[in-house]
């Protein structure tokens, strides 16, 4: 409630001084700085001529004599107001208003506004982070306009608001009534159908004839291509599809006895838990403790009970050590576990999990899978997971829901979906013929072409206190399509960014030029990077406009043509339906191709792509791998980072392995 923060007091003192000064200036200008009657006459400082104004201002004279007493009087008369200003500064310095908001956010007549203020406070760190990210993206695109900075930041903020709203809604925020759940029938879909009929829907997506029954103590995995509607099917159970995303439901969906069409998610928060796709965006509190206890706090449960339940759930997931941490100090794996804990705090009958593995490395994946398996098989929860990384769930899944076209097929554990992405990845048909036997090491490559296209020399990146890239050197020859592999946190992204935007001279040489010394335009012609968060590069309202902006970078470039080409269309007119769309309405794979096309507009000698397969399923991966091969035709070499072994194996002519910031011995591609 009380604390001391000097910054507001300092600001108040400055304001007060400014106020006094301003009043003196007014007196000088408007003829008030002479000594008034009855105060005696002080020494005359400056005798300025009087200037009388005309018309409606005839009662006003400017300037006039200035006396020391007059100035003193002016300053003195300002002191009461100045004192008020300092007083307010003092109040602001010692009262912790934030704590008051946090207290008011749970209950009381101003809970909506208080909760908004808590969210505003929690948004600031995210906002700073997003400014940092977008500034990098902007220099990668070579843009300097204001909108290329502000629009992506704003889009990220809106995305955060929506994720936050969804997570608050499913945890019972603003619930008006209490619905009780029936444990025996967690999910029953009878002749149900889903579509976006009401909203302007361009894709015509729909699911029909859904007949699904899920039992308690089972783990079900929803599989299907990107855009097939895994998330929509999941959210038809959470209720967000019908009540938040403006989807339309036909038929009947009963969740633990509640009619989903009529029951919004906030009213079923007591027995339906949801772990969203990007868990960090959905965090509504500032500490792990408050985050886990959020669903209870919004129902005005007494703080001691909330505390006990938070500790109980944390102990169950073995994350007691995280409880006192701040939300932004969590690793990706820890954040997932905290989000699961937050969804479990009400002891749900049904737990819905959306793509829990997308951002995790192997160790964290195993941990999350084990936790989900335990919840289903030991605690008796009905767990439903939408995920395209199905391999991890082969051992613990009891059933599969496979989306094919507009139908959903319920498969038992024995007959797993046939087209698992985890199996053999079809190698793109148009891989350029590359002699896989050549070059067992970097030396071997250098032997083939005398002068390497690019060479990286003793490149290091320091993110205090850690050296994330440690003395990396390698060469890239013309025509190569190189995969940079390594687990999460190995330093792949840092390495790629340091190659695209080097900070030290003579570390990145492309075509004989030191990239560090190049100007913006020449740098983009040497190296182009498609970063992991490729959406940050987009800032206009149509795809066509994005392409036009990109065309400015190089005379004669046709980004729209390149974009169509990357997608496998022959001419621009075949892709015309995409050009009029909002860039963020494209599918993830299409957006990645758009950003690749934008970066290729500068005709870079070396194209870098960071994690092109993240969050993509088989179909989109095939699209992207084909696009990478085509991109290799546009630039002279392509280097892509991935933690996906299968993807790299099917595509790359050479693989570099990264571990703890160092490059291991380059390994040979086996065909």
């Amino acid at each position: 409630m009380f604390r001391l923060r000097l910054a507001p007091l300092r600001a108040a003192v400055v304001l007060a001084a400014g106020f006094v000064l301003l009043r003196v200036v007014y007196r000088v200008v408007f003829g008030g700085a002479g000594a008034g009657a009855g105060t005696g006459t002080g020494p005359l400082l400056l005798d300025m001529p009087l200037l009388r104004l005309d018309g409606p201002f005839s009662h006003i004279t400017l300037f006039g004599p200035i006396t020391l007493v007059g100035l003193g009087n002016a300053a003195l008369s300002a002191l009461p107001v100045a004192a008020v200003i300092v007083f307010f500064g003092l109040l602001n310095a010692i009262i912790n208003v934030q704590a008051l908001f946090a207290r008011g956010a749970g209950r009381g007549p101003l809970r909506a506004i208080s909760r908004s203020l808590v969210i505003a406070w929690a948004t600031f760190p995210a906002l700073l982070e997003s400014v940092r990210r977008v500034r990098v993206a902007r220099s990668l695109r070579g843009e300097r306009s204001i909108e290329s900075l502000l629009v992506p930041i704003f889009e990220q903020t809106i995305e955060r608001a929506l994720a936050l709203a969804a997570s608050m809604e499913t945890r019972g925020f603003a619930a008006t009534r209490v619905v009780t759940g029936v444990c025996e029938a967690p999910v029953v879909l009878r002749d149900a159908g889903l579509n976006f009929g009401a909203a302007p829907d361009k894709t015509g997506w729909h699911l029909d004839e859904l007949n699904v029954t899920l039992k308690p103590a089972t783990l079900t995995v929803i599989v299907g291509a990107t855009g097939s509607g895994k998330t929509s099917l999941l959210h038809s159970m959470s209720g967000l599809f019908q009540h938040f995303y403006d989807g339309t439901q036909q038929g009947r969906i009963d969740i633990a006895g509640a009619d989903r069409a009529r029951t919004p998610p906030r009213d079923t928060a007591g027995f339906v838990g949801l772990v969203a796709q990007n868990v960090r965006l959905g965090f509504a509190a500032e500490t792990v403790h408050d985050e886990i206890g959020f669903a209870l706090a919004v129902r005005s449960v007494a703080p001691p009970i909330v505390h006990a339940r938070v500790l109980e759930v944390a102990a169950r997931l073995k994350i007691e050590h995280l409880v006192d941490r701040s939300i932004d100090q969590l690793s990706a794996g820890e954040a997932s576990l905290v989000a699961i804990a937050a969804a479990l705090v009400n002891h749900p009958i049904l737990l819905l999990v959306d793509e829990p593995l997308a951002d995790l490395d192997t160790a964290a994946r195993d941990r999350v899978c084990a936790v989900l398996g335990q919840l289903a098989h030991e605690a008796g929860v009905c767990v439903v997971i939408a995920e395209h990384n199905t391999r991890e769930f082969n051992l613990i899944a009891d059933a599969w829901l496979q989306i094919r076209g507009s139908r959903v097929h319920q498969l038992s554990a024995a007959d797993r979906p046939a087209d698992r992405p985890a199996g053999a990845l079809p190698i793109p048909r148009s891989v350029p013929a590359i002699d896989a036997t050549r070059g067992g090491s970097t030396g071997g490559i250098a032997a083939v072409s005398a002068v390497p296209l690019a060479s990286i020399r003793q490149l290091s990146v320091l993110h205090r206190p850690k050296l994330v890239v440690d003395d990396v050197s390698f060469d890239i020859a013309t025509g190569e399509l190189i995969a940079l592999r390594g687990s999460n946190g190995a330093g792949k992204s840092s390495l790629l960014r340091a190659i695209a935007l080097p900070t030290d001279a003579e570390t990145v040489i492309v075509g004989g030029l030191d990239v560090r010394s190049l100007k913006r335009r020449a740098r983009r012609q040497a190296v182009g990077l498609v970063p992991e968060n490729f959406d940050d590069l987009l800032f206009t309202i149509t795809v066509a406009e994005e392409c036009r902006r990109a065309d400015r970078t190089l005379a004669g470039a046709s980004t729209a043509q390149t974009f169509a080409g990357l997608l496998g269309f022959d001419t621009v007119t075949d892709a015309a339906h995409l050009l009029q769309r909002h860039p963020r309405d494209l599918s993830a794979g299409e957006r990645l191709c758009l950003v690749m096309a934008i970066q290729l507009a500068a005709r870079p000698a070396l194209l870098l792509v960071d994690e092109p397969t993240r969050g993509l399923d088989l179909g989109a991966r095939t699209l992207v791998s084909a696009a990478l091969v085509r991109a290799a035709g546009h630039s002279r070499a392509v280097l892509f980072a991935t933690h996906d072994e299968d993807f790299a194996r099917g595509l790359a002519t050479r693989t570099l392995l990264m571990h703890h910031g160092r490059l291991s011995v380059p390994c040979q591609v086996l065909s």
């Binding site: 910054a7 507001p8 600001a11 108040a12 009043r23 007014y26 007196r27 408007f30 008030g32 104004l53 409606p56 201002f57 002016a74 008369s77 300002a78 200003i85 307010f88 500064g89 602001n92 101003l110 809970r111 909506a112 506004i113 203020l117 969210i119 505003a120 948004t123 600031f124 906002l127 204001i146 909108e147 502000l150 629009v151 704003f154 903020t157 809106i158 608001a161 929506l162 936050l164 608050m168 925020f173 603003a174 209490v178 759940g181 444990c183 403006d246 919004p264 906030r266 007591g270 129902r299 005005s300 449960v301 009970i305 002891h347 009958i349 008796g380 800032f539 309202i541 009029q580 909002h582």
Partner: protein, 295 residues
């Protein structure tokens, strides 16, 4: 698992069947409702009272001489009280997850813009956000966004003082005004070029409103503070006994030299440039937030 239904103290009452039969409130799809409700009367009446409090220097002459000293004090107490009253009125309506999240996140953006703007020579760009958000989400949302943006930025940066409630109110009006601007409902279903013309017209309207709002904001903020800023003893001072014409002229000159020619003009230009540059994209982003996201 049977403890679930009784797990929380708040769960004691079961939902009555007749309540279930009632159509659910769909406030989270809040479209501006056309019907005038009692809250509209409170908002309108509150705003009128606030206008009176802002313009207190011109009302002093109308009160008996004994009470004249109390007028500024009443005005100063009235504005925070009105803010609390209107906030209480609007709080119930805003109590849905989506509105609260958008309000919180956008007021953080607004506060950041305001603080960053103070760092670059007082370039006030916060009106851009208030106007665009007020336009898309309506007058009530715009009003609250104005209030919260000023509250958050003042508390964070430290520019908190007796003027803060007045600033909150004035910024709230800027946002609310943008929400009340005329909308051309698509009378005819247009093709893409028609849509483009409409989008341009909208940006022009908002930019024009931005200019008006910038100058009015400066004027209104000068009005209540004028007697304090100048004090007595100058020729543009507020004189309680003088005829309204003279006071008005004094105020006009004060306002002109204080902000109209400088800050307000800078603010108007910033707002127009901001709306022209990021307006279309930000409007699209705000409107997309109401639509279905990608799957």
């Amino acid at each position: 698992m049977s403890e679930i239904s009784t797990a929380a103290p708040g769960n004691s009452s079961d939902a009555p069947a007749d309540r279930r039969a009632r159509p659910s409130r769909r406030t989270d799809r809040a479209r501006p409702r056309r019907s005038i409700r009692w809250t509209s009367w409170i908002l309108g009446g509150g705003s009128l009272l606030a206008v009176a409090a802002f313009a207190w220097p011109f009302f002093v002459g109308a009160v008996p001489a004994d009470a004249q000293v109390a007028v500024p004090i009443v005005a100063f107490a009235l504005i925070p009280a009105l803010i609390v009253a209107l906030a209480l009125t609007l709080d119930r309506e805003m109590y849905t997850a989506k509105t609260v999240a958008l309000l919180g996140v956008l007021s953080a953006v607004g506060a950041a813009v305001r603080i960053a703007g103070a760092g670059v020579g007082g370039v006030e760009a916060v009106f851009v956000l208030l106007i665009l958000a007020g336009r898309v989400y309506g007058a009530r949302f715009g009003f609250l966004l104005g209030l919260l943006t000023i509250a958050v930025s003042s508390l964070l940066w430290g520019g908190f003082g007796p003027w803060t409630p007045f600033q909150m109110f004035a910024c709230g009006w800027v946002g609310a005004g943008a929400g009340l601007l005329p909308r051309w409902q698509n009378a005819t279903r247009q093709n893409s070029s028609g849509q483009r013309i409409r989008a341009t017209r909208e940006i022009l309207l908002l930019a024009a409103y931005g200019v008006v709002a910038s100058y009015l904001f400066g004027l209104v903020m000068n009005l209540w503070f004028w007697p304090f800023a100048v004090g007595s003893g100058t020729d543009i001072s507020y004189t309680a006994g003088a005829d309204p014409g003279q006071n008005l002229a004094s105020f006009a000159l004060y306002s002109l030299v204080t902000s109209t020619l400088t800050w307000d003009t800078v603010r108007a230009i910033t707002t127009v440039v901001g709306i022209a540059l990021v307006g279309p994209a930000v409007l699209a982003a705000l409107r997309r937030a109401r639509l279905s996201p990608r799957r």
